[in-house]
Amino acid sequence: MQANAVLPAGRTVAKEKPNHILRLCRLLVLVTGLMIFFPQVNPGRIMLKINENASLFTTAISYETLTNSVGRPLRMEWILPWHFHMLMLGAAIVLVGVLLCCVGGCMSLGNNRMKRTGLLFPLIGSVAVGGGLVLICHMQALVAGLEKADKLEPIFPTGIWVFAVAAGLIFLTALISLLTLPKEVEERMEMEEKYRLFLMFLPVLLLAFIFCYLPIYGWRFAFFDYKIGDALTAENFVGFKWFTYLFENAATRSDLVRVLRNTLIMSGLGIATSWLPIAFAVLLAEVRSTKFQRLVQTLTTIPNFISWVLVYAIAFAIFSTDGFINSFLRNVCNVAGANTDYLASADGIWVKMLLWGTWKGLGWSAIVYIAGIAGIDQQLYEAAKVDGANRYQCIWHITIPGLVPTYCVMLLMSIAGILSNGMDQYLVFENALNKDVIEVLDLYVYNIGIKQGLIPISTVVGVFKSVIGVTLLFGANGISKAIRGESII
């Protein structure tokens, strides 16, 4: 595995004609490896009572998730914990088998020697999968034979067949590949560098797949009449019903219009004041004392690093009924009845949100421009002075034009993100009085999806948002390419 891995030894592999059976084997292993994350093919769901969102992976590792919807049967002792423990054991054996297959699939990218060893893994692995499935089948039969079986609704999961067929095919293809390997093999296990690097990178890809790409599969909820806990079946498939419902139903339509208005106004205000960081940077550069400059820069950046919850905590300390403003008015200015809760009212909420956003972000957003100013060639200023330019002319003709390219990128990015203002800020400041004017798209999705449990319709809103967001981004990128000849992504 050391340096000679890069030497031509590995080339013999590349020159061989492609081995289709082995490729099929790898493909099968890949598909089986992915299947462990999909609840639809979970062989462990031996009764309808088991959480329909549990995949094989979850079944094998999390007793809580497996049993969180069978609390009552467990309490009534219709079914006993050891049933679930055996089920988990079965699922774990299947899981280990699949993992062995994956190891073998990876090793089969090496030279013939490595293939010969590596292909033993899918052989053992598929046998293990079979063994685990037998155990699960046994448990299924046992549960079906329990006294209160009708309450548990036992079923024979299709996942068992799927995994059994997959394991059988993997066994077969691995065996054929193993038998057709050349008799004489290399002395050492080696792998071409390109595959070695790929395999080292594979865990990262797997993480990205599970947490960034797998959620896209969740878009399927948009096409079903679904509540949390339901199964997705042919009966509750509703096609594009929710997509049209969103616009045809008067209530959701007016909600959508209101929420879009809030979103666009808040983003619009943000974009309209996006020149503020430039002004901040330019004016700060005019300050003569570097100590003062550094002090201002340091202190004004702090708010950027606290969360919106903390911003709300601060808002609470300053503006609530017995916050700073009211105590100051009462005790210093002697205004007797000063106990307005400035956070409760909906008056001017858009401007208030803008001001909080500015308070939090201004110092931070200015940093990129401050760095930009530092990067402007000093000779330009000297030349301008020689030609008689004054301070304001220097700012207007040298500093500002130097910052415009950066500003363009920032502006295009904020236009592309016009629908995503995030939900934290609006969530923390939201209350019963200002809900109608503060609810932006992200918060609306949270409110209807998580709080009210309307999964399909909130998914539809999310789908629209994602699609529009990507379109805007590519649009902005296209504009940037056309005007500046540079892409922003």
Partner: protein
Amino acid sequence: MSKKVQNHIARKPGDYLFDGLIYLLFGLFTILCVFPFYYLFINTISDNDKVVSGLVNFYPIGLHFNNYIALKDVADLGSSVIVTVARTVIGTALMVIVSAWAGYLVTKQKMWKRSLWYRALVITMYFNAGLIPWYMNMLMLGLTDNFLAYILPGMIAPYNIILVKTYIESIPGSLEESAVIDGASTLTVFRKIILPLSVPILATISIFGAVGNWNSFQDSLLLMSNSPKLYTLQHRLYVYLNQSSNLSALVSGSGGLSTQAAQNMLSSKVIKYTVSMVTIIPILLVYPFMQRYFVKGIMLGAVKG
């Protein structure tokens, strides 16, 4: 320097006015940024009766630190602190390791289908499936009411991977080549050459990662609805802030004098302020270290991957 000297010679009365205005403007904005923190702080260390009647506005009165000690009796706060510290330490460490490893590997031109994989990573920064599908995915993976939900998704941070990649590309390739000729494996090169040389960028992403973890609120809000013990500190603070009922009822304990004393002492206002302060202080403590790095970080970010 020369610019300043010239400026000095050319100054007119208007310039002084302009300068004065700038100083005033920045002075005011700076005070606006700092005062709330100061106000919060003095209200947690002042005499609690004075705080409740709103007399502590500009300077502390009756200095004491008992509020911070009394927090140990506030129900559920301890578990939130432990959860948040644990996720910050573990989550950040794993994120940095994964980012460094991934950032190094994507610089390897020889990797099979390298640009495809790299693009697949970059796309995730600009495109996501949305909040609800993400939530359903976490549900499907069994990552609700589960501490791992704080750690696993955070391990993959595409933006940080790009930062590391950009940085590693600036390291002279000859260093790595000579090590490979001497027989070093990819792992050895990574450990002995790449890691030590990319300490500055790793420090940058770890500090940003740590602050992000500390500030995390959304994942706790969405995923931990059934396990209050797993709430992050931010989520806990959010719950406290929204509790209109008397928070001092939350102060629990096994009875005895200390609890009684705590009950008398802590009003819900003071609890809210003190918990806020406890949540802010760690950020303020790492802030001086961050300052060194964030300009570097933001400038590297401007360089596309």
